[in-house]
């Protein structure tokens, strides 16, 4: 046992003192906070950066509809101006685009054209389109004899709040969106960690074998101890990195918001959100929304999700790491690993394939079944977890995963102890299978 600890210690220390590891550990939170800051910065800057659109409205119907805002400024040319002259004056100006609305007889204008010097942003286009659409709808209603007041009245804005009615009759507000994000994010996180750290296990085994150190080591420790020590050591490295990322991201966010001035950031963010709301719906921004989101987040069973995340994170890693260690032990060099990777990668890909739809219908048969199978359960169960699934399913899934880990580690260990000492053999699936079942 003491020797396993030594192996774990070496695997852990050589990795966490590695420059790449330190760099990644510190850069990733910076990157996350950086992207976050960039989004805020852009949304703030977007307000300042007003785009000017020159409008040639031959129909003379939209002067009131196209209202200038902080984002867009509309400048109307005299209707009598010819199209060519309008183009010229646009090219001479610093305006962002030239909107041409032809005169039209029927209900809908045809051939509305927005000319820009570059590619117009999809956001700008959508805003202008919806402004024109609103106005045309208004005009149509007017034609049918309805007043514009009625139009404003029927133009409604709905937010659906979903309420989860549990069997004991208590009600909880949930939001499909928050659940989807929480489930999808944690499922993806597990997937990425299995891939990154699983292949680290494999590379570590190949390194020991091709570096010929392995025979020296196994004359002191049992092959299984060496394999287990390596896997546990690397799992600890993964947990360390995850922990550091969470802590550093939180610290950086706090520091960043203190630096910029939190209220300002939040205000500008909310302001720009409101302006967008105003644009699209003309409705009032809802403080209500913000409240619901916080309420929904607190409605997620956070302790359960965190506990399960750590469990499935470790469980998923252990089961795949054993398989990766097995592959590493049978090959002579890293390039040879490719041919054995597919059967190991396949269940991960299946679990992502099933896991993503699972956040849409978390209680579907497919998702339920795959959240029980050990190789797919870590990803699929995490995707389902935010949606209040029955406790027995979680327990069955966990028990099966633990059994799966023991079984996989045992089989992998049998192959590993022969594989690491076999060099230059032509290894096939048949041979690996033979090593698994026969006593050598």
């Amino acid at each position: 046992m003491n020797k396993i600890l030594l192996v774990i210690r070496r695997e852990y220390l050589t990795r966490v003192t590695n420059k790449t590891f330190i760099l990644m550990t510190f850069l990733t939170p910076l990157l996350i906070v950086g992207v976050y800051a960039l989004i805020i910065f852009l949304s703030v800057k977007g307000v300042e950066d007003q785009k000017k659109i020159i409008v040639l409205d031959k129909s003379e119907k939209f002067e009131k509809a196209l209202v200038s805002s902080d984002n867009l400024e509309f400048e109307f040319l005299p209707e009598s101006l010819s199209g060519d002259l309008a183009k010229e004056s646009y090219l001479d100006s610093k305006a962002y685009g030239l909107l041409y609305i032809p005169d039209f007889k029927g209900d809908n204008p045809k051939d509305v054209v927005l000319r820009t010097k570059g590619n117009p942003g999809i956001g700008t286009l959508t805003v202008i389109e919806s402004m024109l659409e609103d106005e045309i709808e208004r005009l149509k209603l007017q034609k049918k004899g309805l007043s514009t007041d009625i139009f404003d009245e029927i133009n409604s804005d709905i937010d659906i709040t979903t309420i989860n009615l549990s069997e004991d009759g208590t009600e909880k507000k949930t939001s499909a969106l928050v659940g989807t994000i929480a489930g999808g994010a944690s499922a993806y996180m597990i997937f990425i960690f299995i891939m990154i750290y699983g292949s680290q296990v494999m590379r570590g085994v190949v390194e020991e074998k091709s570096g010929k150190i392995v025979e020296v080591i196994v004359s002191s420790v049992k092959p299984f101890q060496l394999m287990a020590g390596k896997i546990i050591g690397i799992a600890a490295v993964g947990l360390t990195q995850l922990f550091m990322w969470v802590v550093l991201t939180v610290i950086l966010l706090v520091v960043a918001s203190a630096f910029i001035g939190q209220t300002e950031v939040v205000n500008t963010a909310m302001e720009s959100q409101q302006q967008l709301d105003n644009f699209n719906q003309g409705g009032a921004p809802s403080e209500f929304q913000v409240n619901v989101i916080t309420e929904v987040i607190s409605s997620l069973n956070l302790p359960l999700i965190v506990a399960c995340f750590i469990f499935y994170f470790l469980g998923g890693f252990l089961i795949y790491a054993s398989l990766f260690a097995m592959i590493g032990s049978v090959v002579d060099s890293e390039t040879d690993t490719q041919q054995f990777m597919f059967p190991v990668i396949l269940p991960i890909i299946i679990s992502i394939g099933v896991g993503l739809p699972a956040v849409e219908s978390p209680n579907g048969t497919l998702a339920t079944v795959f959240s029980m199978i050990p190789l797919t359960s870590p990803v699929v169960m995490m995707a389902r977890l935010p949606f209040d699934i029955p406790a027995w399913q979680i327990i069955v899934s966990m028990v099966l995963l633990i059994l799966g880990i023991i079984g996989t580690a045992w089989l992998a260990g049998r192959v590993y102890r022969i594989g690491i000492l076999t060099r230059g053999a032509k290894v096939s699936y048949k041979l690996i299978f033979k090593w698994m079942i026969k006593n050598y």
Binding site: T14, G211, K212, S220, L421
Partner: protein, 302 residues
């Protein structure tokens, strides 16, 4: 004297290939034991069984009269033929790790490593990374890792490969010194002159079977072919007691190897030579281990 290693009817096969077939031998403490055999004969398998890296199908190994367990394994130092080090680790950390795996406490490990580094003129290597060392330097680190925990039984598989003559000599001297300290050394090598020089006892494995086993000099005597080497004044000999197999003239003195006929004695030969030439020397020629090796392997393979 109680043997330090007792191998009893060791048999091991991989699928249809028999690697070791009923090997029984004993190794005495304080001796240098030569393990010989052509490539693929089963030497490495035998060593791996002694070091309990793999288990035999049949038979048992006793170390100091006890079955293998983690305690006995810590008393063994093994330098495999396929050897290497963690390339990116520092020399000191690496030796500390390997010593720790052999059950050494930190403090004693550090003391032992420092002492060995001093002996091998490796002062100031502690913080060097292995990949920055030359091959010979790496071999020195490797050798230290084998003996750092002061094992009673040291198993060296081709210990001289990778060393230049100066460092090979250093290792040879260490082997002799360790023997004088009372350690037992199993030496598996193809360098017959080392076997000739160092080994007290030898075992030869060919095609998974033990074909030769015993004390080195006794084996040499067993394989002698009744050839006598005579140093005499120049000129060819004319003999009735034996057949000249080799003669060589140098600086006016001649050396002749004579294989005696079975019914003749050395005295008969000497009498004949004395009558013809002036005799400077007269010795029985013993076969070299190299001769015995080649002869035994060829005979068995026929």
């Amino acid at each position: 004297m109680k043997p330090i290693v007792e191998a009893k009817h060791i048999t091991k096969s991989y699928g249809k290939n028999i690697a070791l077939d009923d090997i029984t031998l004993e190794i005495n403490p304080g001796s240098i034991f030569g393990l010989l055999g052509p490539n693929g004969a089963g030497k490495t398998t035998f060593i791996r069984i002694i070091t309990s890296i793999i288990a035999p199908d049949k038979g048992e190994i006793l170390i100091n009269g006890k079955e293998l367990n983690s305690g006995t394994i810590e008393r063994i130092g093994y330098l495999p033929e396929e050897r290497g080090l963690y390339k990116k680790m520092k020399v000191g950390d690496q030796l500390m790790y390997l010593a720790g795996l052999k059950g050494m406490k930190k403090k004693e490990a550090k003391e032992a490593i420092v002492a060995w580094m001093k002996r091998f003129e490796m002062k100031g290597w502690w913080n060097k990374t292995v990949q920055d060392l030359s091959k010979g330097m790496q071999q020195k680190v490797q050798f230290i890792s084998t003996v750092v925990h002061n094992p009673d039984l040291i198993i060296l598989d081709e210990p001289f490969s990778g060393f230049d003559p100066v460092n090979a000599n250093l290792v040879r001297d260490e082997i002799i010194r360790l023997k004088e300290e009372g350690k037992t050394i199993i030496l598996s090598t193809h360098r017959m002159e080392s076997v000739e020089e160092l080994c007290d006892e030898i075992a030869m494995i060919n095609n998974s079977k033990l074909i030769l086993y015993g004390e080195k000099n006794e084996i040499k005597n067993r394989h002698k072919q009744n050839i006598w080497t005579i140093g005499h004044s120049a000129g060819n000999l004319n003999l009735n007691s034996g057949e000249v197999v080799y003669t060589f003239l140098s600086n006016g003195k001649q050396k002749t190897d004579v294989k005696l006929y079975s019914d003749q004695s050395a005295n008969d030969l000497l009498k004949e030579v004395v009558d013809q030439k002036e005799v400077f020397s007269f010795n029985e020629k013993l076969p070299t281990i190299n001769d015995i090796f080649i002869q035994s392997v060829n005979k068995k393979n026929e």
